[in-house]
């Protein structure tokens, strides 16, 4: 195992680095498609009364008239050496800006993930114990429903119901415990649906496996069968799925933070996008990519250690089961 494992780990690590660097370049190219930036924008606003000469002078002083590849190279070399540069919009160091908002987003994302896992577990594991006809159909319907409700509608409803109608939290203190909890619920609901779908598919798959029948024939009750046999194999693949939802936790925070008035990465992006503050956007995207890649790297590296079914072949991890015949598209889409 160990040599194969190190081959695998090394290969994944290298991939991760390449992906992070590429994502930096990618963002630069995409954002550079549209001309414009916060500085020229301010200068061009006639209300501000700048003369054409002044505009030219300031743009040249900022190096904004340099060719795009040159600007990319400058920014990229800075990035590689750990210098994220200055925000064009606020004139403050990008690292400071991100440092200010990161904790809030991390709290929200972790809380959102916790909510998602909690809901998913209740729904998925609930299906194992509720009577098939009545409760199960209901529970099994939840993921579809959760996936169909726009994130912002959930957020608006929660904030109006709990923030104003019931007064559970003060809307202007979005970092308080209760406000964070409800924001996390808004963020976590769609994600819980994805996790629950995969969990349910896995549970159905595993409980349809021969070993479950054999264990039942050995006299195990439903509870013991679930705890001793089904829980682990059906929950392990969720690690991979959860790692993949990191992106959605960060992306979803864009809306959740906006609606709940939280000041986090998501709202920073929103402010930067509307002014095309390239250095910040690049740093945030790269950071998101780093987080995503690292989390997935960790998931991919620990998964083979946790699940004895995984085989490492030629630098790739293969799980010789079977989510195939449950042919569940989400789990399919996400199992590497």
């Amino acid at each position: 195992m160990s040599k194969a494992y190190f081959d695998y780990a090394g290969k994944r690590l290298l991939q991760a680095i390449v992906v992070i660097l590429l994502s930096y370049v990618f963002t630069f190219v995409v954002v550079s498609i549209l001309p414009g930036d916060p500085i020229t924008n301010v200068l061009n606003n006639p209300q501000n009364g700048f003369t054409p000469d002044e505009i030219k002078e300031i743009i040249a002083a900022q190096g904004l008239d340099k060719p795009i590849p040159l600007q990319l190279w400058k920014a990229f070399s800075g990035f590689v050496t750990g210098d994220l540069g200055l925000s064009m919009r606020t004139n403050r160091p990008v690292a400071t800006l991100i440092g200010e908002v990161l904790p809030s987003t991390l709290v929200l994302a972790s809380a959102g993930l916790a909510v998602a896992l909690f809901l998913a577990a209740i729904i998925a594991y609930g299906t194992q114990f509720l009577p098939r006809r009545f409760g199960q159909g209901l529970l099994r319907g939840f993921p579809s429903l959760f996936l169909s409700v726009p994130n912002f509608v959930i957020a608006l409803v929660l904030i109006h119901l709990f923030g104003f109608q019931l007064g559970v939290f003060r809307v202007i203190e979005p970092d308080s415990f209760w406000a964070t909890l409800f924001a996390a619920i808004a963020l976590g609901i769609p994600i819980s649906a994805q996790i629950a779908e995969v969990l349910i598919a896995n549970l159905d798959h595993e409980s349809g496996q021969d070993y479950a029948a054999v264990a039942r024939a050995r006299g195990l009750g439903q509870m013991r069968l679930f705890v001793m046999h089904l829980l682990k194999p059906s929950s392990l693949p969720v690690i991979t799925v959860v790692a993949l939802t990191i992106g959605e936790l960060l992306g979803g925070s864009l809306i959740t933070e906006t609606v709940f008035g939280r000041n986090g990465l998501g709202s920073l992006v929103q402010r930067s996008v509307s002014t095309q503050d390239l250095p910040v956007l690049q740093a945030v995207v790269s950071l998101a990519a780093v987080v995503f890649v690292v989390v997935n790297l960790i998931a991919d590296l620990t998964y083979p250690l946790l699940d004895p079914r995984v085989k490492l072949v030629g630098g790739q991890a293969r799980r010789p089961t079977t989510t195939d015949d449950s042919s569940h598209s989400i789990s399919k889409a996400v199992t590497p």
Binding site: A61, E100, S267, S274
Partner: protein
């Protein structure tokens, strides 16, 4: 200690309201950079600067200029030299004195900025500035290359905020940190977070407020917190439920019911142009005066106020706000008269075709509107106007850009911009005429260049007018001419700042650019 010569003795407000209290002000944005030069004219950051910094002069809601840090001022006959006499004993929050040297430092940076560092000049500061000299600790002499009558009003404009020389000397990235900037205002920044909040606490030793607001001593409220909540409905709901004291920029439609709930609603108007379109006369068919006049008559302005706004909004009576000194009532030119509009269009050769759209030479009568991203109700008004114009045969397309794209693509006289939507304040109506044309760095709003003799004539006469009285009839003439020619199509008088306020909070004042100052306000329990 020195006592201001012309100040009201600082006391508590006479009505017995008490000191103390914390105010939470919900705002939809906290703007971008905090480098004072670059941010002072931001319509969001202006709220904070108004409390943290002082200005040399004060301009009230009616455009009246009165002393503040400058107690008196003189100018030479050719308006090229000005002498400012400063209040003594004024200090910045970092302890340094607001003396003549500090004022010179400020004037210099307003004029020139430090471009290589990314500190911009104040764009509206007179470009004719030459230099300023310290005469003594409380006297500054300012020199201009050319006559500059606008200098004095400019000192009360929101861009002209006084900052500690230490701050001015610090590098841009340090200036960008609001917490490190020192002003001389009644409040200081206690803490702040980009995109989140700014918390101000009162400065106990403040003693140099503008006499015009009836108070010169320290403020009453202990703290003011500007908190960013980007959803308008949430801001209002938070004030309704008592979680905050002021909601900025509420949706106009909600105001009536908010008032009936007992909340204070303020819709101060700034001094400036009304909200309306500057028409691009280079672009067919708007090169035809009949089409422009049809447009002028085809808009039902009352319906805009009834539908999108509330009675707090005023009908436009000219193309400048009616509170601007010198504004005259031209309502007759702005009456809704669809029959007249249709007649004008028929005369101009635009015949109704399929679907009720008028056309000439196979081309439809079209109007592209670029909704102004700085005014929340703009899109709704555009939609409503599209309906109104649609009835008389106009095909109206609406485009909405974000702030950046708007800045890039939508310009006066631009190829795809038949009508540029104006939201713009100014301090002195005398400057208006030159903005409209292209003389002296004018902005050439109607793309007329030098072609309109009448307009150029009026411009020159207004610029050369010796007194306010003598200028008045000329301004009236200008307003009538511009509206009659259909160069400017007003929509409504503009209220760019809407405040919904808890009834507990009283006594705030609104200045000439419609900012609320809570320096004088008190809060009851």
């Amino acid at each position: 200690a020195l006592v201001a010569t012309s100040g009201v003795t600082p006391t508590l407000a006479e009505d017995g309201a008490h000191d103390g209290g914390d105010v939470v002000f919900l705002i939809d944005s906290l703007g971008d950079t905090w480098i004072p030069n670059n941010s002072a004219i931001s319509s969001f950051q202006g709220h904070i600067w108004g409390h943290v910094t002082d200005k040399l002069l004060y301009v009230d809601a009616d455009g009246k200029v009165s002393p503040w840090i400058a107690e008196r001022w003189e100018q030479n006959d050719s308006a090229t030299e000005f002498t400012l006499h400063l209040k003594s004993g004024v200090t910045f929050s970092d302890g340094s004195a607001l003396d003549a040297a500090a004022v010179v430092a400020n004037l210099d940076i307003w004029y020139a900025g430090r471009k290589s560092e990314g500190i911009n000049p104040i764009g509206l500061f007179p470009k004719t500035y030459d230099h300023a000299e310290v005469v003594d600790a409380t006297t500054v002499k300012v020199f201009f290359k050319k006559p500059t009558l606008g200098f004095i009003p400019t000192l009360g404009y929101h861009g002209s905020i006084l900052i500690s020389p230490k701050t001015i000397a610090s590098p841009a990235s340090s200036q960008a940190d609001l917490g490190k900037t020192s002003g001389s205002g009644p409040y200081v920044v206690e803490s702040w977070k980009e995109g989140d909040y700014v918390k101000l606490t009162k400065r106990k030793d403040y003693n140099w407020g503008p006499a015009a607001v009836g108070q010169t001593g320290p403020a009453h409220l202990d703290t003011i917190t500007y908190k960013l909540v980007s959803e308008p409905s949430l801001r209002v709901a938070a004030v309704q439920s008592g979680q905050a004291d002021v909601a900025y920029n509420a949706s106009p439609q909600e105001l009536e019911s908010l008032k009936s709930e007992g909340l204070t609603v303020a819709t101060p108007r700034y001094l400036g142009f009304v909200n309306g379109w500057a028409i691009n006369t280079k672009l067919a068919p708007y090169d035809d005066v009949r089409v422009r006049q049809a447009l002028q008559a085809g808009i039902n302005r009352q319906e805009i106020i009834d539908t999108v706004y509330t009675p707090d909004w005023k009908l436009a009576t000219s193309f400048i706000q009616s509170n601007v000194p010198g504004a005259t009532d031209q309502s007759a030119l702005l009456a809704y008269n669809p029959e007249k509009a249709e007649k004008l269009l028929e005369e101009a050769g635009w015949k109704k075709g399929t679907g009720g759209i008028r056309a000439k030479d196979g081309k439809p009568l079209s109007l592209t509107l670029n909704s102004n991203p700085y005014l929340a109700a703009s899109k709704s008004i555009d939609e409503l106007i599209a309906q109104q114009l649609g009835k008389i045969g106009w095909k109206v397309d609406i485009r909405a850009y974000d702030v950046v794209t708007f800045g890039q693509k939508v310009k006066y006289g631009g190829a795809g911009v038949p009508a540029y939507e104006v939201t713009r304040s100014f301090i002195d109506a005398g400057t208006v005429a030159s903005i409209l044309t292209n003389a002296n760095n004018g902005e050439n709003w109607f793309a007329l260049d030098e072609s309109d003799k009448t307009l150029n004539d009026l411009r020159d006469k207004i610029a050369g007018a010796g007194s306010i009285e003598g200028r008045k009839p000329l301004l009236d003439e200008l307003q009538r001419y511009v509206l009659d020619q259909g160069y400017f199509i007003p929509r409504t008088q503009i209220v760019q700042r809407i405040y919904v306020q808890s009834p507990k909070l009283k006594g705030e004042v609104y200045n000439g650019v419609a900012y609320a100052s809570y320096y004088t306000a008190t809060k009851s329990e």
